[in-house]
Amino acid sequence: MSRKPYVREVPKATWYMRNGRYLRYMAREVTCIFLALYMAGLTIGLVRLMQGPDKWETYLAGVSSTPAVIFHLIAFGFACYHAKSWFDVTPKAMRIPQGNDFVPGRIIVGTHYGIWGGVSLVALVLMGVL
């Protein structure tokens, strides 16, 4: 037997450096770190709120600090990227029949963006009015 197939090893920890497609994927994946940190921070806020007005004030002061604002700025960016990457692929996971065909993907994506915009707007308005 003269066979000797050559196996090209995939670098286990750096494979995603090989092309832009993989980098975009990894960017999408790490959005979860920021979501998790934000939610953890929020949970701490809830604990502070439970502990009374004084603790809550220190918490508020903390959130207003420059590092916290910078973190939230970055987290906001990643959260938006998460939303975009999530909505853009929704037609793949959900196929809604319509006549002999399916509802076109752009309508499904569009609807998601619409709801996203609506929810955000309502929240902002409520905040302003509250």
């Binding site: 979860c32 953890a40 009374g52 998601h112 929810v119």
Partner: protein
């Protein structure tokens, strides 16, 4: 060839991914940027307003849903991402990330119910 048990966590992952996609950006925007920068005025998130806001059970359930599902979403994704970064002891990672999500879920639950 055993069937995988991933469906449990995957269900939470997908739900959390969807919910957080809709609400996380605007939540971060409001609570992390606009309010601290004073856009809505000094006492937009005053103790009174927040406790009043959170006294409503719908708000409690909603907020808990968002926080817990997003945490599970993030935990599950992080587990996969760790693998993608070349960290291969999946069970340790899984324990870590799900543990983190579980811990904070319980804390959030406790805090919200107590408010």
């Amino acid at each position: 060839m055993a069937k995988s048990n991933k469906p449990i966590v995957w269900g939470l992952f997908a739900a959390g991914g969807t919910i957080s996609a809709f609400v996380a950006p605007v939540m971060i925007l409001i609570t992390g940027l606009l309010v601290p920068l004073g856009v809505f005025g000094e006492d937009a998130m005053s103790y009174e307003r927040m406790t009043a806001f959170l006294s409503h059970w719908i708000v409690k359930i909603g907020l808990l849903g968002i926080v817990i599902l997003t945490l599970w979403h993030a935990a599950h994704r992080l587990r996969i991402t760790a693998h993608d970064f070349g960290i291969r002891n999946d069970s340790t990672i899984a324990m870590g990330v799900y543990g983190f999500a579980g811990l904070f879920s319980v804390i959030a639950l406790f805090a919200v119910l107590a408010i």
